[in-house]
Amino acid sequence: MKTIKVGLGTCGVSAGAQKTYEAIKNEIELQNIQAVLKETGCNGMCYREPLVEVIDEQKNSFVYGEVTPEKAKTIMNSHVLADEPVAEWLVQSTRPSEDDTFFKKQNRIVLRNCGIIDPSSITEYVATGGYEAIQRVLKEYTPERVIDVITRSGLRGRGGGGFLSGVKWKFCRDAAGDKKYIICNADEGDPGAFMDRSTLESDPHSVLEGMMICAYAIGAEEGYIYARAEYPKAVARLKHSIREALAKGFLGKNIFGSPVNFSVKIKEGAGAFVCGEETALIASIEGKRGMPRFRPPFPANKGLWGKPTNINNVETYANVPWIIMNGPEAFAAFGTDNSKGTKVFALAGKIQRGGLAEVPMGITINEIVFDIGGGIKEGKKFKAVQMGGPSGGCIPASMGDLQIDYQQINRTGAIMGSGGLVVMDESTCMVDMAKFFLRFTQDESCGKCTFCRIGTKRMLEVLERITDGNGKEGDIELLRHLAYEIRNNTICGLGQTAPNPVLTTLKYFPEEYEAHIREKRCPAHSCSALLTYSIKADACKGCMACAKACPAEAITGEKKKAHEINTAVCIKCGKCLETCKFNAVIKN
């Protein structure tokens, strides 16, 4: 009997996977097909969603991409019933396909079960070796040994800070306190990042197991998962998984029959970016306004409800069971000297294959962008990547051979961050990009520190006037000056890193700023205030298509004669450029 799996992560559902699922279900019922239909999470190929996997009786896997309900019917009839795979829609199977390169350079630790198991079934997780690590730890390991293993693995916090997890755990274990807490930070707020969402949706138990191991290591009996309320699916999956684990005795009193107790609560955040900062996150769980406080005391000494608390993010915890099962050496075998293991990146932006990729540390940017990501969309030129979301910075294409590890990335002025990787092509204006991220942090500032609240606003005003064509001499210096002060004089990571997008674009693309300010020109032809459209007289055939399309009636001209654009009336919508079949319309 064949098994059919439909990827029902948020990425799949938004591409229409739910309908595909229903169609397959219908087909099975109508034709009384002998097949098992399952749902699964996301395997990382978000660009091919909806994904349907057919596993035949010989356990051969056939993954179909972009499966509409109609295609699903065909697949059911031809493959499931008639054993004839529909070759043209296959993206991954026993036969080679162009998508194979997506997986070639990946090493999957965190995503080991994603898109493979049914996340709503604890038995499937257990069948893949799940919950063995915690049982081994409970039976054979002292808490100190767990910490030692994690320390030796070289695992660093995957949320952005990059602090050595084993050391962090040790601080918390050594902190004096009758009660301790652990928190899983699932408040993934960077625009363009979706690693944690996908992990929680596709393999929630691996995170729970990681939390259990951590709780045992530091001596905590209660854990919190602080998840975004904007991740309804992830929250629902987590709730379901916690119930399953409770029913099995994996959570609660005396887990796995040991004397250890551990329970997990979910706290939904209300969508404040700053609540990803650990002290603000703690305040939010306590029911207070999510505002960072100064450290020390660090959460390891005084965290939730004033008790020693360990905070790691989803990806960090998901690594833990694997490290226990495979040993720290196996983990440390991946990566570079200072950065061990793998890292999940969310590929977004102008890249061919947007999705999730887990790669060993030390891989180059070019490998990710071109080998895994398949290069830039529409054959345009690769310009830069933005790493680390609004807290990170851009790395230009010229540095594409840079090996990705914490040290190398920090040297560029960007940060590793939580794994958001937004790819930009030649049509992206870097000033505009910096403005976008700064507007984001400025909106999301909690309003506490003067520099973060008002300084970012002043910076944003400068960027706005530059992109509006009103930039003046001295603006670049003012941006640098404010950026320096904001960076050095704010309490939390949000403020300290807020100027990074501006600083890195200033560092790598100063000529773009200068062109905006001095020549009132946007080299990427993106800032609408600086654009002018005109018609090349010799190329214009006088077909009048552009004049008809123009919503502002800015184009004049007679039939079969060259047309003209009245720039005073033009609203720079670009409609004429799209309409012209003779490439006569040009953008300056």
């Binding site: 100064f294 309003g447 506490k448 003067t450 609240r453 008002i454 002043r458």
Partner: protein, 754 residues
């Protein structure tokens, strides 16, 4: 006690020894090193938002804020480098880019400062008064100290509308710099939580959540936020335009028996504002709305009585003090003692009360010096006094592991007690409230029982019986209460210290006699502490001074034996020849009379017109002492000259006594009165320790009051209507009236909802 070992640090190349367990900022300030800061304030938790207090520390990265960095042995700190100065200037530039700054950077600035602000429309440079905080502004002060003389950013006006709809203070958040002091004082000092930050990013402002008004949000109008605001964003309606006060006078509030220390702000012989004193051991600066906001409007009321006057058939005639004294003496001379009645307010000073009783006894030859407090309590007076005189100190609440509050609410009064209870609750003490509607303690209570006041006595009775039997034997308890009483009893019996707080609602409830008795059982049998939160300011002073029928000065004080109060029977139905009211403004409690002498600061509430009006000075205008609910004798300081021709009460008694030729009262000043008190009441001014009272024999309570007027609805007695010298504060203080109306309408809507 081990002495803290001092730490050796270097601040700006000076080697200093500083206290451990402080921040760099504290250590610097204690060593007279100036570091600017806008968000830090003593008594408030560190916040680290304004960033002005940044310093350089060897070995620490960047520029740590000194208000949040703990000081450590051997630290080398620099507080004033070129780099720091430029960063601080930048911070101020940014702050001032969103804060109207014409007071600092106006072209006429230097000339302007030379002239006194005025509202006259004359052709002179007047100096603008565009901000209520001008010349008192910390932002101005720091800008000058940091040496910022111009700003490079255009000023961005945030355009918030000024909020003026709540009583007592206005809010202009365009001036707010988001230092968060108000939020912190509201939450961590007042434990109230009305204020919080709203929104985020550039939209961040301050106020109650969900855009409620301050009244709706449970604001106590304690004004703590206004006092800590470094700018003009928060300003008191009454005093905002007065500018800087000339002097400050420390005194004691006489609006209730807590005895809060107040800092009266005086300008041009007027009390313009009142600030709390955070160093006061009794109230710790936690004063309530009455002390904070209800004094200037009362003492400066346009209704103040300023000249003696006499009722004639065509209205009042202004007369001189000599004529007034003659008139009073004429009426008092010759009448039989039983035809005269003297009523004094328990809100007078100890000294005035002492002279009042001496005047009544020695000059008038009568023992009938009573007060409307006695009539409020009626035949329950003696059990009430028995509890009041054995009331515990407020500090005992802090050690309590269990607190039961009956009919007590500290929203608009008794806040030093209420906040101590909240603090105990927050720190893990069992807090149980018993009331008719929501109280401000409910949020922190383990259980808040709501029931009609007549049931309180029964509930308390069941609880006391249950506790007294230690859970053994059968106690009759209503079914619906059984599990609750069992549960809280268990916690109360495990706790080492329990406190019962009897609030004003309970004192004026119909079951008060039983409540008082149960309180006695708790105290005597189970070792509970009792605090009676009554409204009669100087009640203990009244007893100590003997301004009480049948008890001479000092007789109530502890000297061995228990005291039995033998009250003479007083019949209010019997018409008197002369009634002499001192600081009593309610006429519903006085008997009919031929002639009424009214000595007070404001006209009475009632329709009966006094025959003779003697204008008395108020507590801001004369010196003396008052005794608080714990028995502490506290100083009242004269802050201004009396209003017009008003005189202190003791002075008026003195003059009338002189006229009556008795030669008994010859006090030159308050000090002379105090000397006489010292002689008669041994150890009264003994120092910081509370005056101890003798145990009162509560079993021998007699029926002493006859012909008392029927008080409508016992539960809404005088106590719920805060007043000073018989005049409800709501009558003369606009904000108190607004609060009063709001409380009444919300009570009404609560009832309708039920």
């Amino acid at each position: 006690m081990t002495r803290e070992k001092k730490l050796k640090v270097t601040i700006d190349s000076r080697e200093l020894e500083v206290r451990p367990n402080t921040t760099i900022l504290q250590a610097a300030r204690e060593s007279d090193v100036y570091i600017p800061s806008l968000c830090t304030l003593e008594h408030l938790p560190s916040y680290g938002a304004c960033r002005l207090c940044i310093v350089e520390v060897d070995g620490l990265r960047g520029y740590p804020t000194s208000c949040t960095t703990p000081i450590e042995e051997g630290m080398v700190i620099r507080t004033d480098t070129t780099e720091l100065r430029s960063l601080r200037q930048e911070i101020l530039k940014l702050l001032l880019s969103e804060h109207p700054a014409s007071c600092l950077f106006c072209e006429e600035h230097d000339e302007c400062k030379e002239f006194q602000g005025t509202i006259r429309k004359v052709g002179v440079t007047t100096g603008c008064r565009y901000c209520p905080n001008d010349a008192r502004c910390e932002l101005q002060e720091i800008t000058e100290k940091v040496g910022l003389t111009e700003t490079s950013y255009p000023v961005y006006y945030r355009g918030f509308s000024v909020e003026k709809y709540d009583p007592f203070y206005d809010r202009d958040y365009n001036l707010c710099i988001l230092c968060g002091r108000c939020v912190r004082v509201c939450n961590s000092v007042r434990l109230n939580g009305t204020l919080s930050f709203k929104q985020r990013g550039k939209l961040t402002t301050i106020g109650p959540a969900f855009d409620r008004t301050h009244l709706e949000a449970g604001c106590e109008f304690c004004g703590a936020c206004v006092s800590v605001c470094p700018t003009g964003a928060l300003s008191a309606k009454v005093s905002k335009w007065y500018g800087k006060p000339d002097t400050q006078v420390t005194t004691t509030c006489v609006y209730c028996p807590v005895g809060c220390r107040l800092e009266l702000q005086v300008k041009n012989n007027e009390v313009i504002d009142v600030l709390p004193n955070y160093d006061s051991p009794i109230d710790r600066g936690l004063i309530c709305v009455k002390g904070r906001f209800a004094i200037p409007e009362y003492v400066l009321s346009p209704e103040r009585l300023g000249t003696p006057s006499r009722l004639t058939p065509v209205g009042y005639e202004v007369i001189s003090w000599d004529q007034a004294i003659d008139e009073a003496a004429k009426r008092l001379r010759g009448t039989k003692p039983e035809d005269k009645l003297v009523m004094v307010s328990p809100q007078l000073s100890n000294e005035d009360l002492f002279v009042a009783q001496q005047f009544t006894r020695e000059v008038l030859g009568s023992d009938a010096v009573i007060s409307s407090m006695m009539i409020d309590l009626g035949d329950d007076l003696v059990p009430f006094l028995e509890l009041v005189t054995s009331s515990s100190t407020f500090d005992t609440i802090e050690d309590a592991r269990g607190v039961l509050a009956v009919g007590f609410d500290s929203t608009y009064g008794y806040s030093p007690v209420g906040i101590r209870i909240k603090k105990a609750g927050r720190e893990g003490a069992l807090l149980v409230t018993l009331g008719a509607c929501d109280s401000n303690l409910d949020m922190l209570s383990e259980t808040a029982f709501q029931m009609e006041p007549p049931q309180w006595a029964e509930f308390l009775g069941s609880l006391v019986d249950y506790l007294a039997r230690g859970g053994k034997g059968k106690v009759k308890i209503r079914k619906e209460w059984t599990s609750d009483i069992e549960r809280i009893s268990r916690i109360f019996s495990d706790s080492s210290t329990n406190i019962l707080v009897i609030g004003q609602e309970a004192i004026f409830s119909s079951g008060r006699r039983e409540i008082f008795e149960k309180a006695r059982t708790l105290r005597d049998k189970l070792g509970w502490k009792i605090i009676v939160a009554h409204p009669y300011t100087n009640l203990l002073g009244m007893l100590a001074m003997g301004a009480f029928p049948g008890a001479k000065p000092g007789e109530f004080l502890k000297n061995g034996d228990a005291v039995t109060v033998d009250l003479p029977v007083i019949d209010l139905a019997k018409r008197k020849k002369v009634v002499y009211l001192i600081g009593e403004g309610r006429f519903d409690t006085i008997p009919d009379c031929d002639y009424l002498i009214y000595q007070n600061g404001l006209p009475p509430v009632a329709s009966r017109q006094p025959d003779l009006i003697l204008p008395a000075s108020l507590f801001t205008e004369s010196s003396g002492t008052t005794t608080n609910g714990e028995g502490r004798v506290l100083k009242i300081e004269k802050a201004t000259e009396p209003f017009m021709d008003a005189k202190p009460d003791w002075w008026i008694f003195n003059r009338i006594a002189e006229k009556l030729n008795k030669g008994k009262l010859k006090y030159k000043d308050v000090a002379a009165v105090q000397a006489a008190i010292k002689k008669q009441v041994k150890g009264f001014y003994g120092g910081r320790k509370p005056v101890e009272f003798a145990r009162i024999n509560a079993e021998r309570a007699t029926k002493w009051l006859r012909g008392a007027p029927k008080q409508e609805g016992q539960s809404s007695g005088a106590g719920n209507n805060p007043s000073y010298r018989g005049i409800p504060l709501a009558r003369v203080v606009a904000g108190m009236k607004a609060i009063d109306e709001w409380v009444n309408t919300s009570l009404l809507s609560d009832k309708e909802a039920q």
